[in-house]
Symmetry: C2
Subunit: 238 residues, 2 copies
DNA sequence: TCAAAGATGTCACGCGGCTCACAGTATTGT
DNA sequence: ACAATACTGTGAGCCGCGTGACATCTTTGA
């Protein structure tokens, strides 16, 4: 038994090391420190749709994504959802607990099967305090995300649904788009409901607005995938 | 002439030192480094209502507030405004330029006569890179503000005007409130338009909603100041 | 393979709150 | 002290979009 556990943890540590090395943020970190980290982290595989944490859960760790995609969103009691961001491989999430370890105030959920590395908050904090470059990079990530949220806030308040959806489609195109003969195809399985959550609207309105866009030849709806045909036109609505 | 300028800059440096020492964030910073900073900063007095920077302005410095109050907000071409936050004495603003020095995407404006210390971006960045504790504190401030923005975003999307205004009043009460016989008086000169900008609504709707609150005895409007009479009641609307 | 669950299309209805408009009141600067 | 400027109160009208309600159509998993 003891042998077994030792072997496992040694193996896990090696695997953890492998994963941590692939996180851009941790690139410059000292090998010895990374080793320490690897010994303390937990690796988890999260199936699609599974919740990773909910509002109120303890903010006692930060997460790195080794594979898959994670959605961070605000949720209300009655099931309404506002998506803050998607996070992909190499990125981190749940990082705001670093400041004080207060409970989560958002939800994190796997969008597809995901592999994540959980780092205890205190350990990550120590790491930040011991590596000035890392700490600065961390601050930059937090700041960059804040800027994105501020932009989102502006859009939500000032723009109508058409403008918000057009902007979203262009964003998704830039992030997940693949060129094809008719234009830029959004290579991301995304439902109307998800789009609605991203721009603070409703499923029905998204259906309608997408149909309007199609009528104006701004895009095509081949079954369940969106192809942007006229990005200038969409940009003009923004 | 030269004597004059020398004297001035020596005096300014001393004044800058005096001001910088009063900034909580800089408390733990090494004296020598602070001295360096003091030599390079610029102190400015900004009259009420004057704009400090606009979207598109270079993001080449960060600002510390030594006195007065500064409003940071998103603005549109046609004059609509969404206030992100008020910043007071001892706080910093314009700090997101640290990451990359890209142009501002918000407006900063003095709400009352203000004294601010301007620190060149590069210098502040060097300071952060040379002081790990400071860098961590800085990250925490950026993160804390991000959390506030995320909460604001949630409110803007999910809540109606009544709920948002009630929440705002409680917030203002907590921040600027002074106890008086009838309840908690908001000790901050604020117009209906400003409230509207804070919660993404309009002046007219604020007038109306405040009147409704008054009718329900949730608050009193003594001329131009708001007194919260029933904070539980207001909290219940949130 | 087939039922159950999930996603989309569409439409009628209603309402919260924004717009516009104007009158009255308070502040401010000189 | 008194214009000039800024702020508040109120109401009518309108409209974007959320709500609710179904009828397909697609995907999924046992």
């Amino acid at each position: 038994m003891v042998r077994g556990r030792k072997d496992d943890s040694a193996k896990d540590e090696k695997r953890a090391m492998w994963y941590l090395r692939k996180i851009p943020l941790l690139e410059g970190v000292d090998q010895a420190r990374l080793q320490e980290l690897a010994a303390a982290v937990e690796i988890r595989e999260i199936p699609r749709r599974q919740v990773i944490y909910l509002p109120g859960d303890p903010g006692d760790r930060v997460f790195f994504i080794n594979g898959g995609r994670v959605k961070c969103s605000k949720v209300t009691r009655d099931g309404k959802e506002l998506t803050l961001a998607y996070r992909g491989a190499g990125q981190l999430f749940g990082e705001l607990c670093i400041m004080d370890g207060t409970p989560r105030d958002e939800m994190a959920e796997a969008m597809k099967n995901a592999i994540i590395t959980e780092v205890p908050r205190e350990l990550f904090q120590e790491l930040l305090m011991s590596d000035n470059d890392l700490c600065f990079s961390f601050a930059c990530i937090v700041g960059e995300r804040r800027r994105q949220i501020e932009t989102k806030l502006e859009h939500l308040v000032f723009r109508d649904v058409q403008a918000k959806l057009a902007a979203l489609l262009l964003e998704l195109g830039a992030e997940y788009g693949v060129e094809c003969e008719d234009g830029l195809q959004i290579g991301l399985k995304i439902t109307h409901q998800e789009m609605a959550n991203l721009i603070g609207s409703t499923r029905e309105t998204i259906s309608l607005t997408l149909a309007q866009f199609k009528k104006k030849s701004l895009l095509d709806l081949n079954g369940r995938t969106v192809v942007l045909k006229n990005q200038e036109g969409l940009g003009a609505m923004t």
